[in-house]
C-alpha cells in the first residue's frame, strides 16, 4: 500500500493530491457554496438590512425626539416670550 | 538459516462451537427487548385497563419480532 502511494507522490503536483481527489473535493465545495448562497446569503442580507434599519431607525428616532423636544422648547419659549409681554 | 529457540509450556484444553457464543450474544438484545415490550404493556394496561385489548396485539407483535432475532441466531450456525 504505502510503496505504491509513495511512488505516486513523486509524480503528483505540489498540492500533494491526485487530481481526482481535488476534483471531487471541488465538486463537494461547489455544492456547499451553492447551498450557502441559496439559503445562508439571503439570511445574511436580511440581517444586514435589519441591522442598518435598526441603526438608521435608532438614529432617526433619536433625531426626531430631539427635534420634537427642540420644537416644544421653542414653542414654550415663544409662548413664554409672548406671556411676558 | 534455521535459528530456533523455543521454550513453550502450552497446556490448552478448549472445546466447543463458536456458534454457541453467537447464539448467546444474539439472545442478549432480544432478552432485554422482550422485557421492555412486556413492561410497557404491563404499565399501560395498569394505567388504562380499557386499552388492554387494543394494545395486546402490538405487545404480541413486538415480542414476536424481537424474539425472532434470537431464534435467527439459533439458525445461523447451521447455514453458515
Amino acid at each position: 500500500m504505502s510503496t505504491q502511494l509513495l511512488a505516486a507522490e513523486g509524480e503528483t503536483n505540489p498540492i500533494g493530491l491526485p487530481w481526482g481527489e481535488v476534483l471531487i473535493g471541488a465538486i463537494g465545495f461547489a455544492v456547499l457554496v451553492w447551498v450557502l448562497a441559496k439559503f445562508v446569503w439571503p439570511m445574511f442580507e436580511k440581517a444586514y438590512a435589519e441591522r442598518t434599519q435598526a441603526i438608521e431607525g435608532g438614529i432617526a428616532k433619536a433625531e426626531q425626539a430631539q427635534n420634537e423636544a427642540k420644537a416644544a422648547l421653542e414653542q414654550y419659549q415663544a409662548q413664554l416670550a409672548g406671556a411676558r409681554e | 538459516m534455521s535459528v530456533i529457540q523455543q521454550l513453550a509450556d502450552v497446556n490448552v484444553d478448549i472445546a466447543g462451537n463458536i456458534g454457541t457464543m453467537g447464539y448467546g450474544l444474539a439472545a442478549i438484545g432480544p432478552g432485554i427487548g422482550v422485557g421492555i415490550v412486556w413492561a410497557a404493556y404491563i404499565n399501560s394496561t395498569a394505567r388504562q385497563p380499557e386499552s388492554a385489548g387494543l394494545t395486546r396485539t402490538y405487545a404480541f407483535l413486538g415480542f414476536a419480532v424481537s424474539e425472532a432475532l434470537a431464534l435467527l441466531g439459533f439458525v445461523v450456525p447451521f447455514i453458515l
Partner: protein, 147 residues
C-alpha cells in the same frame, strides 16, 4: 350466553387460586406432556430407547425450568407482593446455575441421547409458550380483581 360462562369460569379461577392464580401451569403442562409423548414415541421408533430417554429428560427440563420460578414467584407474591422482583431474579439465577451444572454434567454418550434431548427442549419450549400465550389470549380477564 357464552360470555357469562366464561366470566363465571374466570371468576371461579380467580377465587379458587387466590390472588396468585397459576392456572396457566395446567394448560402448559398438558401441551408439554402431549408434545413430549409424541416426540418420545417418534424417538423410540427412530433411534431407540436412548432417544426416548433423551426426549423425556428434555421435556422434564422444560417443565421444571418454567414451573420452578412460577411457583416460587406465586408463593412469594401471596405473602409479599413487593418481593416478586427479588424472587424472580433469585430463582432465575438459581435455576440458570443449576442448568449450567446439568449442562456440564450430562454425559454426551450415556443413557441420554443429547441431540434428542436438545430437540425436545426446543419443541417443548414452543409447546409451553404456545399454550401459555393461548391461555393469556383467550382467558377472560377482569380489569379489577374480584375479591
Amino acid at each position: 350466553m357464552v360470555d357469562l360462562t366464561i366470566a363465571e369460569k374466570a371468576a371461579r379461577r380467580s377465587a379458587a387460586g387466590g390472588v396468585w392464580s397459576l392456572g396457566h401451569l395446567r394448560v402448559c403442562w398438558a401441551a408439554l406432556v402431549a408434545g413430549g409423548a409424541v416426540l418420545t414415541l417418534v424417538g423410540a421408533l427412530v433411534d431407540g430407547s436412548r432417544a426416548a430417554w433423551g426426549v423425556v429428560l428434555g421435556t422434564v427440563i422444560v417443565g421444571a425450568f418454567f414451573s420452578f420460578s412460577a411457583v416460587v414467584i406465586a408463593k412469594v407474591g401471596e405473602r409479599n407482593p413487593k418481593g416478586v422482583l427479588a424472587a424472580a431474579l433469585i430463582s432465575y439465577v438459581a435455576k440458570i446455575v443449576a442448568l449450567g451444572v446439568v449442562l456440564v454434567m450430562i454425559p454426551r454418550d450415556g443413557v441420554f441421547d443429547t441431540r434428542w434431548m436438545a430437540g425436545a427442549v426446543g419443541i417443548g419450549l414452543f409447546c409451553w409458550l404456545g399454550a401459555h400465550m393461548r391461555y393469556v389470549w383467550t382467558t377472560k380477564l377482569f380489569y379489577v380483581d374480584p375479591s
